[in-house]
Symmetry: C2
Subunit: 122 residues, 2 copies
Amino acid sequence: METTYSIADISNETGLSIDVIRYYERIGVLPAVKRKENGHRAYSKSDLARFTFITQLKRTQMPLKEIERYIRYYNEGDFEACYRTLHAHKLGIERQLAELHDILGVMNYKLENYQQLIQSKE
Amino acid sequence: METTYSIADISNETGLSIDVIRYYERIGVLPAVKRKENGHRAYSKSDLARFTFITQLKRTQMPLKEIERYIRYYNEGDFEACYRTLHAHKLGIERQLAELHDILGVMNYKLENYQQLIQSKE
DNA sequence: GTAATACCTGAACCATGGTTAAGGTCAAGC
DNA sequence: GCTTGACCTTAACCATGGTTCAGGTATTAC
């Protein structure tokens, strides 16, 4: 009664294209998984959970190399390294959030200027 | 009494490397500026202000092509297009902020797990 | 005069993150 | 038995965003 997922299922769940999933596996970002007799990849539930988290890391602009390193630490059981990597990355995201927030302010100011410019021309 | 800035000054103010400034000029992202008699670029105060804003856009991951398009609209006096471009981009940033925020939540959860794992091993 | 500094140009090179193409296997439905 | 669909592999190709190199000019400092 083991549920397995095809590569297309994983693509649907994670939003990655099928080609990208194979590419990530090739470069070591997504771990290789079991195959069915016909050679097709058969993903387990825990594979899916892992992949979901990895794609979340990717959405935060974590470079593939760093994701790969993180995965490696995890596979080696070096959870302190996992912690450190994740924590450092989190600080980076927080800095980025703060910066984006500031820039939004600048953009709002510019947008107002443009609005006035446009209205005064009508 | 016109203040001008060298390319090194602009590099210091914007955080872009000198090479990148020349590269951006080449691909049309940063407008070309006046030269001194010796051929060196002489940036004005308004150039600096523009470049600062452009580098802010870049920090929000706006692609160089889109920045270039925005600059073009501006030079053509098409402020409505400027407005639209900026506004659309702003919505994108807001979506990204929301997503990053969610993922931070996931990361905090993971970090806690790792902490417990690490402490239980000590 | 010569060295160091600051800039200039054009062109080659590079890293990252994919995408596409060519050719093949396997199972299901008609 | 043949087409369709889902998957497979290897390898070439591509876009973006730079970086580096080679060779040259002008200014200042000694």
